[in-house]
């Protein structure tokens, strides 16, 4: 059984600073980390591996990323925690990719690795919040996709069964393999590496491929393959001020009602 986990390097800081002139995120060298949603995806993959291997199956978990060369460090950290190997797509030609170009590149990486049984992605990345990569990969690969998985109930060689979140509540869903799932952050907590895992990660194979190496069409990669155009990005203005309501609680309640009605709410 082969499981591929897609991971993205995101800034480690939780306080994203915006450049007031260019309105872009200030990337001031803060060390990047694995997107927390993708950490959850890895843990679910490792649980499937633990469970299936206990039953005698052979399960291989590969972590896949598109990013700068330093991303290899994060892939090795994933291996220290239990993944078997990694593939990094790294090339200047991948830069500036929107979700379409990113999912195309990752799909090329998945095809390069061979037919997976399950592809697991985080539901979204904390620095982009699009939640599009998993479903788009499923579209490119033409396999079923289950988004916003809250709980993995079972996964054998033929199908997987999960609970997923919807606007109406929780759905119990089953899909045949191969399939793509995207997972909610709280679905699991990524395990820490053991000493032997850290040691193994140093020698484990992490393949690094450029656009040509992964067999991708340069016209569909990076900025060239990204139809999305960012017209403008800006920091929303923070409104300040307010009104103090005075008087007895009953008087304040009346004033509040007037205010709310005045706003047409």
């Amino acid at each position: 059984m082969r499981i591929i986990v897609c991971v993205k390097a995101v800034p480690s800081t939780t306080e994203v600073k915006m450049d007031p002139v260019t309105n872009t995120i200030v990337r001031d060298g803060a060390q990047s980390v694995v997107n927390p949603f993708d950490s959850t995806a890895l843990e679910l993959a490792l649980r499937i591996k633990d469970e299936r291997e206990a039953l005698g199956d052979d399960v291989r978990v590969t972590v896949l990323s598109m990013g700068i060369p330093d991303t290899e460090r994060l892939l090795r950290d994933c291996i220290a925690r239990g993944a078997d190997d990694g593939l990094l797509l790294s090339d200047r030609a991948f830069a500036g990719a929107d979700t379409l170009a990113t999912s195309y590149a990752l799909s090329c990486g998945i095809r390069h690795l061979g037919r997976p049984d399950v592809v697991i992605c985080g539901k979204m990345a904390v620095d982009g919040d699009t939640a599009q990569i998993g479903p788009e990969i499923a579209g490119v690969l033409d396999v079923p996709c289950i988004a916003d998985v809250r709980e993995l109930l079972a996964c054998d060689g033929n199908c997987l069964r999960v609970r997923r979140g919807t606007d109406a509540g929780i759905e119990l869903v089953e899909a045949p393999l191969p399939a793509v799932i995207t997972v909610a952050k709280d679905a699991a907590q990524l395990r820490m590496p053991a000493i032997c895992g850290v040691r193994a990660s140093l020698a484990a194979p992490v393949e690094v491929l450029d656009v040509a190496g992964v067999g991708a069409d340069p016209a569909r990669c990076g900025l060239a393959g990204s139809p999305t155009q960012v017209v403008r990005s800006f920091v929303p203005e923070r409104s300040s001020g307010g009104a103090w309501l005075e008087g007895s609680p009953a008087q304040q309640a009346e004033q509040l009602v007037e205010l709310v009605e005045g706003m047409g709410l």
Binding site: S12, V33, P36, D77, A80, Q189, R191, M192, P193, A194, I195, C196, G197, V198, R199, L202
Partner: protein, 542 residues
């Protein structure tokens, strides 16, 4: 030595802008984290050294007892008032300046009420509030912003402690295994005496001659002290006054439990944060394996900055909390066969060195009977935070458990030990704890700084009868630990709760010697009354 009559207090308070009546709104200031409740008649919240001296001068006339408080996070009731006045320094929370010496080391001058967590935030962000600083401090701040990140190494579990309180009890923490307690990291301080006079001390400038010390105050008075004659234990120690032949005078003040004067400023020696900090939790099937691993880690892992322990009962408490409380649901999941845990923190200059040390840790774990696979290695900020949450969840959970039991029996309070022994008595002291707890039929959880042979054994009494039995057991341990060459308080200080243990550790005559030191600084025994000594030892004054 009784507290002055209410009438006298009233006359002191009238018209004084700093001193306020101790009304019900100040009830919180009747206790610290030991949860023992005291009484007071008045309270002040000075903001400057001048304010402190003014209050002291005002209260000196009628010898009003004064309890100095910081953030009230102490566990030995040192900040619990003993009648009289509460001098609360929490509003003295400004950073006053920064110095850089010729070697490029940084020294931060702070008021005593600066809180440790705030200090850490300032240093991590390289942004220290600098309003009112002089030119040379601002230059040093600019240099600090260009330098590698700095840290203050003393790390008590309670990060809301304030620096003045930490100095007063010579606080430690997990990292004291490598960096020692707070004492060596304080390079200067100013001490306001009970009469409002001030002593200015800088490390390396005033020394005892043998066991005799003379200090000059700013008003020109000389304090002449014969230091106690006891030898310090060869173990981590925060019990009573620190004394040594030819000692530096500043070391006497640090760890004096607020009994000699009021620390109004202190200068902290900062150090570069190690570039690589990894935490490794090693799980074992039994306590003997954990002890063997501890000895190996202590002897063979040069970059170990902390070696901590969590016994089987502690891990069981965490398992229960994780299942039952949403607040603890983010705790990492413990393997079913993990009975106890030794945590080692590696501080290294680079990753290659850290990897070599990690290999060494793995070898020690396997040799002790554990497995490399049963370890957690925290190399990322997130993992380190997770392990810190895990470590801090133990005392927090025990406090919650005690609070729950107290609801059925109000006589029950926390019963936690703070004793240490020399390295070669580690196995003996653990054996002592296990044998006596079992014989007494008491439930307990033990955790803490095993690298320094310093565990916090917490008895978990189910009734007031068990509480009394536990308390008696602590007295027995104090005697045994003393006979092993250890200390009855290794990091919390003696305060009011452990003064009987201090008498066991040093004996009556040495306590009298300590009392004479106190009276040389504070002739009417006003400051920190009830801390270290019973008031009877101070009868008659200087």
């Amino acid at each position: 030595m009784d507290a002055p009559a209410a009438g006298a207090e009233e006359s002191v308070r009238q018209g004084h802008p700093l001193i306020r009546a101790f009304t019900a709104e100040f009830d919180d200031y009747r206790h610290d984290e030991s949860r023992s409740q005291g009484e007071a008649q008045s309270i002040s919240f000075p903001q400057t050294e001048e304010d402190v001296c003014e209050v002291l001068r005002t209260l000196h006339g009628d010898h009003t007892p004064i309890t100095v408080q910081g953030a009230r996070t102490g566990l030995a009731a040192g900040a619990m008032p003993h009648g009289g006045h509460v001098l609360n320094l929490s509003r003295m929370n400004r950073c006053l300046g920064l110095r850089r010496d010729a070697d490029g080391s940084f020294f931060l001058l702070v008021q005593p009420g600066v809180v440790l967590s705030e200090l850490r935030k300032y240093l991590k962000g390289k942004s220290i509030p600098s309003a009112g600083w002089d030119e040379s401090s601002l230059e040093a701040l600019s240099a600090l912003q260009d330098a590698p990140e700095q840290m203050f190494p003393t790390d008590p579990t309670e990060a809301s402690a304030c620096l003045g309180g930490m100095a007063a009890c010579n606080a430690s923490g997990a990292r004291s295994f490598r960096y020692g307690p707070m004492r060596p990291h304080v390079t200067a301080l100013r001490l306001a005496l009970a009469d409002g006079d001030v002593v200015d001390l800088r490390r390396g400038q005033v020394f005892a001659r043998g066991r005799h010390l003379e200090l000059s105050t700013e008003a020109g008075r000389t304090i002449s002290v014969d230091l106690p004659t006891y030898d310090m234990p060869h173990a981590k120690n925060a019990s009573g006054y620190f004394v040594q032949d030819d000692m530096d005078a500043i070391d006497l003040v640090i760890g004096s439990d607020g009994t000699l004067g009021v620390i109004t400023q202190l200068e902290l020696a900062l150090m570069p944060t190690p570039p690589v900090i990894w935490g490794v939790s090693c799980f074992f099937a039994d306590e003997h394996q954990a002890l063997d691993a501890t000895v190996g880690l202590r002897d063979e892992v040069a970059s170990a900055a902390a070696i901590e322990y969590f016994d089987p009962a502690s891990l069981d408490i965490l398992r229960t909390q994780r299942e039952q409380s949403t607040a603890f649901s983010a705790l990492p999941l413990l393997a079913a066969d993990a009975a106890c845990c030794v945590y080692v923190e590696l501080h290294c200059q680079d990753e290659d060195l850290a990897l070599a040390e990690l290999d060494r840790v793995g070898g020690i774990v396997e040799r002790a009977g554990g497995s490399e696979a049963a370890t957690w290695v925290a190399r990322t900020e997130l993992d380190r935070e997770s392990l810190q949450f895990f470590r801090h969840a133990v005392p927090e959970s025990v406090n919650m458990l005690i609070d729950a039991r107290r609801r059925t029996d109000p006589a029950i309070t926390k019963l936690g030990s703070d004793m240490s022994v020399p390295d070669d008595r580690l196995h003996d002291v653990i054996e002592l704890y296990r044998t006596t707890l079992s014989a007494a039929g008491l439930e307990a959880a033990a955790w803490g700084h095993i690298g320094n042979n310093h565990l916090h054994v917490n008895v978990l009494p189910r009734s007031s009868e068990e509480y009394a039995r536990g308390k008696a057991l602590f007295g027995e341990w104090a005697r045994e630990v003393t006979s092993m060459g250890g200390a009855v308080s290794a990091e919390h200080g003696v305060g009011k709760l452990k003064r009987d243990f201090l008498a066991i550790m040093y004996g009556e005559e040495h306590l009298r010697e300590m009392a004479r030191v106190k009276l040389a600084f504070d002739p009417y025994g006003q400051l920190g009354r009830g801390n270290l000594f019973d008031a009877s030892l101070l009868e008659g004054g200087a």
